[in-house]
Amino acid sequence: MAMRQTPLTCSGHTRPVVDLAFSGITPYGYFLISACKDGKPMLRQGDTGDWIGTFLGHKGAVWGATLNKEATKAATAAADFTAKVWDAVTGDEVLTLAHKHIVKSVNFTQDSNYLLTGGNDKVLRIYDLSKPEADPQEIAGHTSAIKKALWCNNDQQILSAADDKTIRLWDKNTQEAVHTLSFDASVTSMEYIPDGEIVVITYGRTIGFYNAHSLDLIKTVDAPASIHSASLHPEKDFFVAGGDDFKLYKYDYTTKEEMESYKGHFGPIHTVRFSPDGELYASGSEDGTLRLWQTAVGKTYGLWKCVLPEELSSENSEVLYCPPAEIKA
């Protein structure tokens, strides 16, 4: 029987959620960090959305947040001109890295030893976390504010997206731009999928998929509305996208067909990411909430429970919370 998606709403933030990131799968499950304009990034259990803690310390809107693979470290980028590194187990601030302008993006290498930052001063910086006092390696070239900077290709190269409507692939050692992609519209988001070497880029209403080494175009898909963020499923069978019209779209990656669209958010969607196991995806919105959505609707996973019709009406179902059957406009 057809089931209707029940998104799980994670409240707590008081302002728009602008970025979110998942950790890898750890012995304690996987985790999710959300960046918010209220300056208080939060750590949550990835499969349930349960709040674990809030990283307190930034004095301005947090524009970017990331976790390392093991979810032992977190990094945040903020409007207070700093990037901070945190202990993701205790919640303590470990490092503050001063910048000359708003920092927008932070990204750890696979071994968590280096942190890449990018922001409004147009310069990419690489910090050696074992020598935080040392000056970072700087890579300049973009002519506008950097929106997102990611390690890729075994942490040997860097992908950066900026308001100058370009995406550049840099070699970390030579600090040269190896490839550049130019667009007519501002790039709104970028995601790197190491397994398969794919970069997901959104601009205007388009979701583009590119080869991470050559930046050759694989395919593009156009959505009904302006898209702010998209994420490709780890198995590469679907991708999800969200943007201006508050809806979340789910597409078949192979056929490019729109499979589903979900309403739920009360504001534009700024960020969307698949979990590392692909079982759910999380979206962050202008409405200040994070929502978790099932990839396979109706499956028992996390807080979602597959319930047969007989169970629903029996007395044994007191543990189950059945959302009211609302008529979705």
């Binding site: 029987m1 057809a2 089931m3 209707r4 998606q5 029940t6 799980l8 709403t9 994670c10 409240s11 707590g12 304690y28 939060m42 750590l43 949550r44 349930t48 959305g49 349960d50 709040w51 674990i52 803690g53 809030t54 990283f55 307190l56 032992t72 187990v89 205790t90 919640g91 978790l292 099932q294 609707v297 109706g298 807080l303 979602w304 429970k305 597959c306 319930v307 019709p309 629903l312 179902s317 543990v319 189950l320 919370y321 059945c322 959302p323 059957a325």
Partner: protein, 147 residues
């Protein structure tokens, strides 16, 4: 007012679609995600992850942990010695070496909690003996007394 719904073959399809929508059961959830605790910043120290990943202050297998412990132990020893010295100094004649080549003698009374001032009596100064005085500790270089 009367509405006459005129449909052709579409009516049966519409009914089917309406039926489907109302039949689609929303997925049940066990509970809603837990929100933030208004009183704390979280990171529960009793969670299994915290206990497993954060070494407690008592046990430490890493070498840097051992060095920190040793340093702390030394600091504690020095602090204890200092406090005991102050206790021993009470009511004794003490000679204070201060900046600007000042050397004065006095009977030591007590120190304040932050060791900013020493209360002394009978302070011998070139201008005479001051019955009660406070010596500013930051001006004191050293002091000596007989046990």
């Amino acid at each position: 007012m009367t509405f006459i719904l005129k449909t052709h073959t579409g009516y049966a399809d519409a009914a089917l679609i309406l039926n489907e929508i109302s039949m689609k059961t929303p997925v049940s959830v066990l509970r809603l995600p837990r929100g933030p605790d208004p009183n704390s910043r979280g990171f529960d120290p009793n969670s299994p992850r915290f206990i497993a990943l954060c070494p407690t202050t008592l046990s430490s297998s890493s070498s840097s942990g051992a060095v920190d412990e040793e340093e702390q132990r030394l600091r504690s020893d020095l602090r204890e010695r200092f406090l005991r010295t102050l206790l021993l100094m009470t009511d004794k004649q003490v000679e204070f070496n201060m900046h600007e080549k000042v050397r004065v003698r006095a009977r030591f009374g007590a120190s304040d909690i932050d060791v900013l001032n020493f209360q002394v009596s009978g302070l011998e100064t070139p201008l005479g003996v001051q019955k009660e005085a406070l010596l500013r500790c930051q001006d004191v270089i050293s002091c000596s007394f007989e046990l």
